[in-house]
Symmetry: C2
DNA sequence: TTTATTCATTGCAATATTACGATTAAAGGG
DNA sequence: CCCTTTAATCGTAATATTGCAATGAATAAA
């Protein structure tokens, strides 16, 4: 069916999955890493930097923007992207509660 | 095309995406949380616990096993699952280097 | 005003994912 | 030896994702 049954899971579980899903493509990972590395707004070089066609990059940017992880401001003909620091922190909190579950457990299998 | 162009990304980027992808479905998040909560092996209640059909759960478990995040041991007619602690730690290291990128950056957009 | 630049959107083809019914395989209990 | 239990696998339908060519919209440059 290809249709995830979100109703049967908790909001938290769906939220974790939603964040993870957006990181689940190397192009989006690469875009975010580049935005961090530059430590500033990026106006346009993303298509050159990552080797995908412009519409494809645009699509990936849209997904990142939908989740609030990046912001885009129009500047003349070009658009300027950067990490949304506030929301990135929120995301980190959510993901950490999931990843840092521990592990008092000994190997039992 | 539906086919991710992994060639044009670094191994690290692909690895991050691969981990993230497996967390990108709430059923797999729920399975992992349940394994952590029990703090022990789980032999079979997963289908009752999560509201999906047995073949569906089996498929999700397979993906988690392929990435090494869980282990499964046969015990009689049933199979016993638990977190693979070593590999979970390795995964955490990889994901942390990605998520903890900071942020000297001021909001520029 | 025309032309160029930059990015978003649309439309579509190829492939992947999700879910489940039906079946199979393997082990135990009678 | 049958029958049950448990979980993997197969096959398939529905939907989602990825990628790009073509097009559109908006601004800047000439």
């Amino acid at each position: 069916m290809g249709l995830t049954k979100t109703e049967i899971f908790t909001d938290k579980q769906n939220q974790i999955a939603q964040y993870a899903k957006v990181f689940g493509h190397p192009a989006r990972v690469a875009i975010l890493q580049y935005l961090f590395k530059l430590n500033a707004c990026v106006c346009g070089d993303l298509v050159d930097e990552i080797g995908l066609a412009q519409p494809t990059i645009s699509q990936h940017l849209k997904e990142l923007k939908n989740l609030g992880l990046i912001k885009g401001n129009v500047e003349g003909t070009s658009v300027c992207y950067c990490i949304d620091v506030e929301n990135w922190k929120k995301m980190k909190t959510v993901m950490s509660t999931f990843l840092d579950q521990d592990l008092n457990q000994k190997d039992c299998c």
